[in-house]
Symmetry: C2
Subunit: 294 residues, 2 copies
């Protein structure tokens, strides 16, 4: 398989589905729906929707069938970005070269657009009842709620905020990365696999895969913040250092961080050894995540 | 039945369940969990959890069985209050005589506590898989997501913000009230009834009941803001007028608003005529909502 073509095709599928499934700007409240679409449809890699589809494929499912779940994951991701950018959080004016949601729609609308996106994700998951057994739908809803909330993404965000401006331990940075980024990436792979009937062994292996690529992804992000190309990473190089954020290079140095990212990539791929050709997209995505620009 | 005792007993059940099901302050991130518990466990009528239980009872279910769903509704309610109070929204320092969440924990933590509560609600709903058929659990998840999001509570909030400082039409105020308050009250009654196997006719009648008490509740609230007792309503009397909020008395006058609230109460109760004694709590709650202090 050609990874570039695969990613492009899946990204196009996800974006077409998002355009169809997001609320219309012809419906009330118009401005809320504009704010929602502004952020969700802004350019992105669509890594989470692609992982939902790749997780489905790994266990023998069809990517078309998990498009609503793919969209749900992108909604949760967009919700987290909108809220992270607000003045009371990171106070960012730009994301990937475009004005952040609250700079366009105001703080109240941005917060509400984020709230609505989190709710919408669970509506999209529930809509799967038409094509998958109900118990699988409940399990996906449960794992997304867990990955988004106090023991997942929000929890990681809180510990990240609390760590700013002080030295943190290796355990803490792993907690932050595992929760802020890893939880939702893992939930993405698992959503597709659970909906398409993955068995317990498959689900356990895919969970480990997700945790490893989640960590690898975040280490790679930390590294790119230091050595990357501003255009590609979409924010000024060195902004983590400036904000005194907890990063792997800060704790382990650049070379050791690269080694750790590669180690996680290898762990991720070795977890896929029970799968055949169907997991080839997941294997290549693991490599892509780490080797993007390093 | 004695309504006062009924409400007290159900409130105690809901609060004991909340204390048990909310994240512990012994777990990481401690401060997030403190912020969550601060708001959810602050004094309240627990109307939504009580409606979940009363909805269950109406169709022959047991209140004990719907306690996780009751807690989920209270989590969504608390999420909406925390976000509503933030500086970018209503900017309130007090709620029911206590400092608002962001005044105690800071804006970032308050926003994240709200986010986590919305996610937690769906985790609590998914946990019902142990005691109810999966398709009912999915349906409850769907209707809560719908009631909370862009076509529900958040949508009503947006239209309310957009209406501030200008004249609004009867249609608009009904939209605001139906979405801001009515959607979640209706979802409360339906959650209990759907989990406990209410049939289509029962669900339709309970939906109409919920919509009517939702509207009656908000009209009563608007009236209390003018003639109420500050201690009982927990905010300064006249604060809606001061903020130039869209209210029923502003549009219809006080006497006509009272009549409209009573009319909705009668509609609510007449929708229960297919139920027997099992819907007595719902009937009395409808009266209580309108007659609280009017």
């Amino acid at each position: 398989m050609n990874l570039h073509n695969y990613l492009m095709e899946r990204k196009n599928m996800a974006e077409a589905a998002l355009d169809k499934l997001l609320p219309s700007v012809l419906d009330t409240p118009v401005r809320l729906h504009e704010a929602i679409r502004y952020s969700v449809l802004s350019p992105g890699k669509r890594l989470r929707p692609i992982l939902v589809m790749a997780g489905a494929e790994a266990v023998g499912g069809y990517p078309e069938d998990v498009l609503p779940a793919s969209c749900a994951l992108e909604c949760i991701h967009a919700f987290s970005l909108i809220h992270d950018d607000l003045p009371c959080m990171d106070d960012d004016d730009y994301r990937r070269g475009r004005l952040t949601n609250h700079k366009v729609y105001g703080e109240a609308m941005a917060m509400l657009a984020g709230d609505a996106l989190l709710a919408l994700a669970f509506e999209l998951i529930a809509s799967n009842i038409d094509r998958f057994p109900a118990d699988r739908v409940v399990e996906v809803s449960r794992l997304l709620a867990h990955a988004s909330g106090n023991r997942g993404m929000v929890g990681g965000q809180v510990v990240d905020i609390e760590s700013e401006g002080r030295d943190i331990s290796p355990d803490e940075i792993r907690y932050i990365h595992a929760h802020k980024t890893g939880a939702l990436l893992t939930a993405s792979v698992l959503s597709g696999a659970v909906l398409c009937g993955g068995d317990e062994l498959q689900i356990n292996r895919l969970r480990s895969y997700g945790e490893s690529i989640g960590l690898a992804f975040q280490i790679a992000d930390d590294i790119l913040d230091i050595i990357g190309d501003q255009e590609k990473i979409g924010k000024p190089v060195g902004s983590d250092v400036k904000q005194n954020k907890a990063t792997f290079p800060k704790l382990y140095g650049l070379e050791e961080s690269k080694k750790l990212a590669e180690e996680e990539m290898r762990k991720a791929i070795s977890n896929l050894d029970i799968f055949g050709e169907s997991a080839e997209p997941l294997r290549q995505i693991a490599r892509y995540i780490v080797e993007r620009d390093l």
